[in-house]
Amino acid sequence: MRVELTQAAFDAGARLSAFSAGRSEVGAVVSFTGLCRSAPGLTALELEAYPGFTETIIRGVAETTVSEHGLLDLEIIHRIGRIAPGEPIVWVAAAAAHRRAAFEGCDRMMDFLKSRAPFWKREHLTGGDARWIEPTAQDHADLARWAAAPAESETR
């Protein structure tokens, strides 16, 4: 299991190649790549983390996800700092013997990362304006699907 925050742009495909290589025990790898979408007036996203704290919280949820979904491995790469439209923001890969566990583990990890992970997100707009973004109602509804999950209480 691996949790990495990075200031630098990364190539999701290169991560997938490395993650999948030499896994003859694994039947299924599901990866999620979250890209910065372009929007009118958006010049960049900026993500702030609380160094140490952010990784610890993510690692705790990742450990729960690995054990509850029976994953063989789980990897999370998350950008921080300024991110241009079209660049990957987050990449999660889940490996399991069978595909259902890999899909569910990756999906659940993303629901957490998108809605409750300790990041603060700001949109930079043309003209120099910037505004902070808070999680959407959809993000909370997605997360509620894993109702019994310790993920909820850990970040409350």
């Binding site: 409750r116 603060w120 970040t155």
Partner: protein, 79 residues
């Protein structure tokens, strides 16, 4: 002298991200911040703002030492 860290919009409100304060408890630190900067004090009491002491989320009051790291965290937006 606890080290105080502000994240997200809280740092914008305050105009700083990290500063040392002299406070024996989290509650007295909040009072001091409210007195010195009412807009920040109000933002810290806002909905969903959490406090962490030494990287652990804290509800209610807690004693601080000179080595304490106190972070104020607005609602986490996710990535």
């Amino acid at each position: 002298m606890a080290r105080v860290l502000l994240f997200g919009r809280l740092a914008d409100v305050a105009g700083w991200r990290e500063r040392a304060f002299d406070a024996a408890t989290l509650a007295s630190l909040r009072s001091e911040l409210l007195l010195s900067d009412p807009a920040l004090g109000e933002a810290l009491a806002g909905r969903g703002v959490q406090a962490a002491v030494d990287q652990t989320l804290v509800r209610g009051d807690i004693a601080l030492t000179a080595a304490s790291e106190v972070a104020f965290l607005p609602p986490m937006s996710g990535g």
